[in-house]
C-alpha cells in the first residue's frame, strides 16, 4: 500500500485517493474514473492496484467483469441503444442496424474521427417509453426507424459546429 500513487496523473490520483485504500472501494473508484475520463486508462488501473495493494491482474479482472467499464476511449457522443426486452420487441434491433449502416461502427466501437461510439445496453429501466436510446445523458424516447437517422444527423451537425 503506497501513500502516493505514482502511475497516474494528478486528476486520476485525486479520484483514487478520495477513497480509503481498501479492496471493496475498487469498484467505486473505477466508476468515478470512468465518469471523468470516459474510459479506464491503463495508468488508472495500475494506480488503483498500487494504492490498494493488490495485483494488477485483480483490478484488471474486475474492470473486465463488470459491463459498465470500457478499456478503450469513447467518442464524444456515446450512443447507448437499449436492447432490453420491451425495446427489443418494439424494434431496437432495426435501430442498431441503421446506426451501424450509417456510422460504419458496430456495438462496442468508435468512429475513426472519435465523434460517435455505439453501445447496446441491457435495460435502461425506461421500458414504458420503448424503444429508448441515450446519447451521453440525453434520453430519446420512442425512437422510430424513420427518426433515428435524423437524430444522428443532429449530433453530427452539433459536432461540426463546435469544430
Amino acid at each position: 500500500m503506497a501513500d502516493e500513487v505514482i502511475h497516474a496523473d494528478n486528476e486520476i490520483r485525486n479520484i483514487i485517493q478520495a477513497y480509503p485504500p481498501e479492496k471493496r472501494f475498487i469498484l467505486a473508484v473505477m466508476q468515478d474514473v470512468q465518469k471523468s475520463c470516459n474510459y479506464l486508462p491503463k495508468e488508472a488501473l495500475l494506480g488503483i492496484a498500487e494504492y490498494v495493494g493488490v495485483p494488477f491482474s485483480r483490478v484488471y479482472s474486475l474492470a473486465t467483469f463488470y459491463k459498465a467499464f470500457s478499456l478503450t476511449p469513447k467518442g464524444r457522443y456515446n450512443i447507448k441503444v437499449c436492447d432490453g426486452t420491451a425495446c427489443h420487441i418494439k424494434g431496437s434491433p432495426v435501430l442498431i442496424d441503421q446506426i451501424q449502416n450509417s456510422l460504419g461502427i458496430g456495438p462496442g466501437e468508435t468512429t475513426a474521427d472519435e465523434i460517435f461510439s455505439l453501445e447496446t445496453v441491457n435495460c435502461l429501466g425506461a421500458c414504458a417509453i420503448a424503444p429508448v436510446m441515450m446519447v451521453n445523458d440525453k434520453v430519446h424516447p420512442k425512437v422510430s426507424s424513420s427518426a433515428i437517422l435524423e437524430i444522428i444527423k443532429g449530433y453530427r451537425k452539433e459536432a461540426d459546429h463546435e469544430e
Partner: protein, 605 residues
C-alpha cells in the same frame, strides 16, 4: 370545487425517468419561474417534483391539487395556459385532459381512470404523491411512524409480525421474508448486516428504480426496522450505477435521515446505531443473485458461491446477513405500521400483499402497476393496460425476465401469484410483464434471452457457460433459416443439463425462456425449421413484406415512414414494396392502419 378556491394550489410535476425523457424537467422549471413572477405566489400555488406516477405513456404528467386535475403530455408552452386557467382562474384546460379512447370523454382526474382505479398501492403508496427529496413530505404521510412503533416491540415480535404477514421476497425467488429474518436472529454471531438489493437487472422491469427514485425513505425505514430487530449496525444499498436519479435521491435521503437522528450513532438517543452505505453496482446481471452481490460488495468479482450456508447464516464477510429486494423493503413499514393482519388480507392463500408489475411491450397503457396478488393477466393487460396497441391480437406475455417464461393467450385467466406462475412454466421474478402481439416472434424472443444470458453468465459453471452458448447457436440458426429436424429435441436435452448442473439461479433458470416457448409455441418453431417461415415477420431471412392490393387505400403512410425509401405508389393508388431495397424493418406493417401489409415467406430459400 368552489369551496377549494382559496386554498393554495399544489402543482405536482412528475419527474420520473419516463416523464423526464419527455421533457418534464423543463415543464417544472417553467412552472417555478412563471409562478415566481406572480405577486403573493405563496398564497396561490406551490410547485413540487414527484417520483414516477407509473403512467409514463402519457407523460409529462402534471397533477393539480386540491382540485384533483391530471394533465397529460404537458409541454412548456402549455404552462402559461395552466397557470392562467387553472391556478388563477380555477378552470380546466380541456385539451390537456386524457381522452378515453372508447367513450371519447375527457377525464379530469387520474383517479377516474381504469389504469389507476384497479390498482392497489402499497409499495408504491407515496410515489407521485411526495417530493422524494423531502423527508418532511415522507413524514407527513406517516413516514418513520412504523419505526417508532417498532421501538416499542421486541425483536421477536417484529420478526413474528413479518412472518405472520406472509410477505415473500419480491426480487424473484419468493422466499418468505420473515423466515430469513428469523434465521438471522437465531445466529450466535452478533455482528450482522442488512442489505438492500437494488441491482435491478431484469430487462423490462423498473419498479425498483421507481421506488428508489420516488420514495427512498421507505427503503431506509424498512431496513432500519430490520436492523433494530436484529441488532445490526451496518447496512448497504447496492444500486445500479446507471440509475443516476436513484443514486442521487438515496444519497440525499440517507443524509436527511442522519440529520433527523434516524440513522447514525445513537438513533433518537437510544443505544442503537445504524449506518447505511451506498454501493454502486457495475452492471453485471449475475450480481442480482444474492451471493454474487455479496462478493461484489466485498470487492471481488461478482461470482455466486454455492449455498452450503444461506446468507442469513454466513453472508457478508462471513457474518449473518439479511438481504432483501427494494420492493420487499418498501412493504415493511406498512406491515409494521398497520399490522400483519391487514396486510395478510390482501392477496392469495400463499402469496400475500400486492405486487408491482412493469406493464410494457405491445400494450396501450404502459407503465408501472401495483395490484393484489391473484389478479388475472386479463385484468392487468386488458382492463388496466387497455389492451393491445393497433388493435392487434394478444399472443403472449413474458414474465420473470430472462429466468421466466412466455405465457400464451389460453392462460389469460391465470391468477398471478408465485405458485401459479411457477406451474405455468414461468416465474414471478421481479415483476416484468412484457406483452407480445402477433408481430412478436417467439423463437426470436427465446434467442434474445439466450443471447442476453450468454453475455451475463459469469462463466464459473461449464454447463451454464457452454450450454447457453450452444443453445444460442441453435436458436440463431433457426432464426436465420438454417434450422434442422431434431433441433427441438436437442434444445430440450441441453436445457435439462443446464438446469440440473448449474450452481446459481441464473443457470438453473436460463433454459426457461426456451422451454416455455417450445411448450406453448411449438408450431411456430416448426414453421421456422420445416417451412422456413416466420409468421410474425421478424426473422429477416425468412420474411418478405408485400402489400395487399385489396386492402391498400393508397394513404401513403407506409411510404412516408419507410426508412429505406423502397415503397412506391401514387396517392389513393395501391402501393408496392421493392423487395430488393427492403431492409425488413417492419415499419410499414406497424404503421398501416388498414392491415394491408402482408407477411410472406421469403422466396428462394
Amino acid at each position: 370545487m368552489r369551496n377549494k378556491q382559496n386554498e393554495v394550489r399544489q402543482v405536482m410535476v412528475c419527474c420520473g425517468t419516463g416523464c423526464q425523457a419527455s421533457g418534464s424537467k423543463q415543464v417544472l422549471e417553467a412552472f417555478i419561474t412563471q409562478l415566481q413572477s406572480l405577486e403573493g405566489v405563496e398564497a396561490v400555488a406551490s410547485t413540487k417534483a414527484t417520483g414516477c406516477n407509473g403512467w409514463c405513456e402519457q407523460g409529462p404528467l402534471v397533477k393539480i391539487l386540491p382540485d384533483d386535475i391530471t394533465y397529460c403530455l404537458v409541454k412548456v408552452k402549455d404552462v402559461p395556459v395552466i397557470i392562467e386557467k387553472t391556478i388563477l382562474g380555477h378552470g380546466i384546460v380541456e385539451r390537456l385532459l386524457y381522452r378515453d379512447p372508447i367513450s371519447k370523454n375527457r377525464v379530469q382526474s387520474h383517479h377516474q381512470l381504469d389504469f389507476y382505479r384497479k390498482q392497489k398501492k402499497v409499495a408504491l403508496r407515496n410515489i407521485g404523491e411526495i417530493d422524494p427529496a423531502s423527508i418532511a413530505d415522507y413524514m407527513a404521510r406517516d413516514g418513520y411512524q412504523a419505526f417508532k412503533k417498532a421501538i416499542t416491540m421486541s425483536a421477536q415480535e417484529i420478526v413474528d409480525e413479518i412472518i405472520n404477514s406472509g410477505l415473500r421476497g419480491r426480487g424473484g425467488g419468493g422466499y418468505p421474508t420473515g423466515l430469513k429474518w428469523k434465521s438471522c436472529l437465531q445466529q450466535e454471531e452478533k455482528q450482522r448486516y442488512i442489505i438492500c438489493n437494488g441491482d435491478e437487472g431484469d430487462p423490462g422491469a423498473f419498479m425498483d428504480r421507481s421506488i428508489m427514485e420516488g420514495d427512498p425513505h421507505t427503503v431506509i425505514e424498512g431496513m432500519l426496522i430490520c436492523a433494530m430487530a436484529l441488532g445490526a449496525s451496518k447496512g448497504y444499498i447496492y444500486v445500479r450505477d446507471e440509475y443516476d436519479l436513484a443514486v442521487k435521491n438515496l444519497t440525499r435521503a440517507i443524509q436527511d435521515a442522519r440529520e433527523h437522528s434516524l440513522l447514525g450513532d445513537k438513533i433518537m438517543g437510544r443505544e442503537f446505531s445504524f449506518h447505511i452505505e451506498l454501493v454502486r453496482g457495475g452492471g453485471a446481471f449475475v450480481c442480482g443473485e444474492e451471493t454474487a452481490l455479496l462478493a461484489s460488495i466485498e470487492g471481488n468479482v461478482g461470482e455466486p458461491w454455492d449455498k452450503y450456508y444461506f446468507p442469513s447464516e454466513k453472508g457478508l464477510w462471513g457474518y449473518p446477513t439479511v438481504i432483501n429486494n427494494v420492493e420487499t423493503w418498501a412493504n415493511i413499514p406498512v406491515i409494521i405500521g398497520q399490522g400483519a393482519q391487514d396486510f395478510a388480507q390482501i392477496g392469495t392463500e400463499n402469496s400475500k400483499g400486492t405486487k408491482v408489475f412493469s406493464l410494457v411491450g405491445k400494450v396501450i397503457n404502459t407503465g408501472l402497476v401495483e395490484v393484489p396478488m391473484g389478479t388475472t393477466l386479463r385484468e392487468i393487460i386488458f382492463e388496466i393496460g387497455g389492451g393491445i396497441i393497433n388493435g392487434r391480437k394478444f399472443k403472449a406475455v413474458q414474465t420473470g425476465g430472462p429466468s421466466g417464461g412466455c405465457i400464451p393467450a389460453e392462460l389469460l385467466d391465470l391468477k398471478l401469484d408465485f405458485d401459479s406462475l411457477h406451474e405455468a412454466g414461468s416465474m414471478m421474478g421481479s415483476g416484468g410483464l412484457i406483452v407480445m402481439d402477433e408481430r412478436t416472434c417467439m423463437v426470436e424472443v427465446a434467442r434474445y434471452y439466450l443471447n442476453f444470458l450468454a453475455g451475463e453468465s459469469c462463466g464459473k459453471c461449464v454447463p451454464c457457460r457452454e450450454g447457453i452458448r450452444h443453445m444460442l447457436e441453435i436458436l440463431t440458426r433457426i432464426c436465420e433459416g438454417r434450422g434442422r429436424t431434431g433441433d427441438l429435441e436437442l434444445l430440450e436435452e441441453l436445457a435439462e443439463t443446464v438446469q440440473e448442473a448449474s450452481l446459481c439461479g441464473l443457470g438453473k433458470t436460463a433454459p426457461n425462456p426456451v422451454l416455455s416457448t417450445i411448450r406453448y409455441f411449438r408450431a411456430e418453431y416448426l414453421d421456422h425449421i420445416e417451412n422456413r417461415f416466420c409468421p410474425a415477420g421478424i426473422c429477416r431471412n425468412l420474411t418478405r413484406f408485400s402489400i395487399d392490393p385489396e386492402k391498400c387505400t393508397g394513404c401513403g403512410l407506409c411510404k412516408k415512414n419507410c426508412p429505406a425509401n423502397c415503397i412506391s405508389g401514387e396517392r389513393k393508388e395501391v402501393h408496392t414494396i421493392d423487395p430488393q431495397g427492403c431492409i425488413k424493418c417492419g415499419s410499414c406493417i406497424d404503421t398501416c392502419k388498414f392491415n394491408a401489409v402482408l407477411v410472406q415467406q421469403e422466396v428462394g430459400l
